[in-house]
Amino acid sequence: MKGWIGRILRIDLTSKTFKAESFSEEFAHTWVGGRGFAAKILYDELAPGIDPLGPSNKFIVALGPLSGIPAPNTGKALVAAKSPSTGGYGDGNLGTRVALQLRKAGYDALIVEGKADTPTMLVIEDDQVGFLPADAVWGKGTYDTNDWIYATYGEGVGVLNIGQAGENMVRYAVVRSLEGRAGGRTGMGAVMGSKMLKAIVVKGTKPIPQADPEGMKAVGLRDLREVHRIDKESGWSIQSTNAVLSWCNEVAALPVRNFRKTSHPDAWKVDGERLNAARVATYGCPNCTMHCGIAMHDDEGRVSELDYENVALLGPNLEIFDLGQVASLNYLCDDYGLDTMSTGCVLSFYADAIDHGDTSGDFAFGDASAAKVLMGMIARREGIGDLLANGALAAARTFGRGSEAYAMQIKGLEMAAYNCKYIPGQALALGVSPIGAHHKEAWIITFELKETSRDSYGPEKAQKIIDLQRIRGGLFECVVSCRFPWIENGWGIEHYPHYFKLSTGLDWTLDDFWTVSDRVYALLKLFWLREHPQTDRTSDFPPAVWFDPANADTEGPIAGRHLDYDKYDGLLQHYYDLRGYDRRGIPTRDTLHRLGLSAEAVSAEEFGLLR
């Protein structure tokens, strides 16, 4: 088998044992890798209803047939588990040398099971696995942990680690790697912490099997150079993803004051232009030639890497417009191993709830100093931080008084930084994201404004979301490669089947990838259904506040406008119809059969769940 190594490393932290397991060519061709592998393994191996923070959950690192090979932007890994944020399938991807080192060590994926009895660090070196004490770094932040690992094992090793937030099982704790990389905002860091797993270190020395290694090298290096050239003219490296902040502010799509407002006159103070001017370093992932990570000094002189999501949600969403302070909040999140996006939403919800008298507390919008203190309390689960560590939805259910309406989350995962108060299609894109309110699956705001109408709830938007899910959440998450060259640099999607052929020898069309993508999305829905047997279509709805006329903007381009509940429901039905899902949003038996999921359908039938 070319392209895949054909082996998965399974590690049991309870018994301190490990074994390499082979997988079949059929498995590889059915699920490709990354999200496909993780979804299938978790669906098959997890008993329904397990505690995501208990020893029965499994932490997976999954790579794909493009991982680590010399093609554009292949230095990413996918981390996955049952999510402590949503109770469904959770994953995330991050730039890391693990993508290269784990493949060189001889594995396409890693499954970590059980729970260590003391803080542990896994050290994987080719066929050997060490279970080493992590006492030297337990209780430390991710920067110190990473530095200690580099000092001990050298800077070329692949590292995944967690901070205090992961150790204390904050439900939106992330996994960290390299200088500013983070992934798994669905609580993957908390799953590592629940297993007392502080870090994974990987070092490999073997070649990665490829069908045409010389061809791959020639094409890959050529295309890495070309992506670099394009990016220098027009890409993310100029202002990072934060370039989009100004645009969101202009078109009433920026989250301001817990998404209550859609723009702010001071937004320019934290925009991409200001970030570029403050740049002190530029970071990227392995095998990347379009480095999008702009770092600046925060207000305490520390180097903090910023992008749009964390600036928008830790800045304007908290009504903080001092870029140095935003950088400081971002640094603390990174060091504690807190997801910047969820942290921003949780804090904005807390400020909003206090402002509305739905709870009491000493925090207000615009108070960066108090936000820093709260972050530490969340990471350590101290005081009110213990409740906020469970996420905005959990806090709202505790506060009561209708506050759930403005807890900005879907399925338990806090909102990505796009204010969809009057952007119906993007609201749907976040609503039907299988991991909760995250933007990586589909983003259609420019399509809505430019190619159709902001007012439309028509099927063209549902179809566009499916088209993008197939590419973003399907192809890129399964071959495990960064979507940015395609997304923002116009690097043609047709390059990817070509890379896939050079790696695997398989002559696949894009339609073949769409079939895999649809299969993975259907399986994620089955996973959700098995964990939430009473689920219905309301789990794909955004927060009630976006439908509330009283929350409409009073000025600007969408003054007086808000989402229409019945029309959104109709748009959602378009999506279900196009997908072949029932009225609950669950794939029908026919759809499952068509996607080759008959066996998975049988297991779902055991619970009496299909219609």
Partner: protein
């Protein structure tokens, strides 16, 4: 008539400004405005006028805020 033009991201370098007020003749269109200001359109852009998507043939009006941005795709 006076209006404000803002350009975003990578377009700033070629335009030579990020936000500026201009005096243009009545009847100027969106497309005419971007040509007049030599804004790079070799790659796709999205143009908004007062927060709403605008077409090249739309006439601008006094007091307008015209924003020219690369077409972002949400990271």
């Amino acid at each position: 008539m006076k209006l404000t033009v803002k350009v975003i991201g990578s377009l700033i370098e070629t335009a030579g400004f990020s936000e500026k007020e201009f005096d243009v003749p009545a009847g100027t269109t969106v497309g005419g405005l971007t040509a007049l200001l030599t804004i790079d359109r070799t790659r796709p852009v999205i143009i908004t006028r007062n927060g709403h998507a605008a077409a090249d043939g739309d006439e601008v009006a006094s007091g307008d805020r015209v924003v020219v941005s690369p077409v972002y795709s949400g990271g």
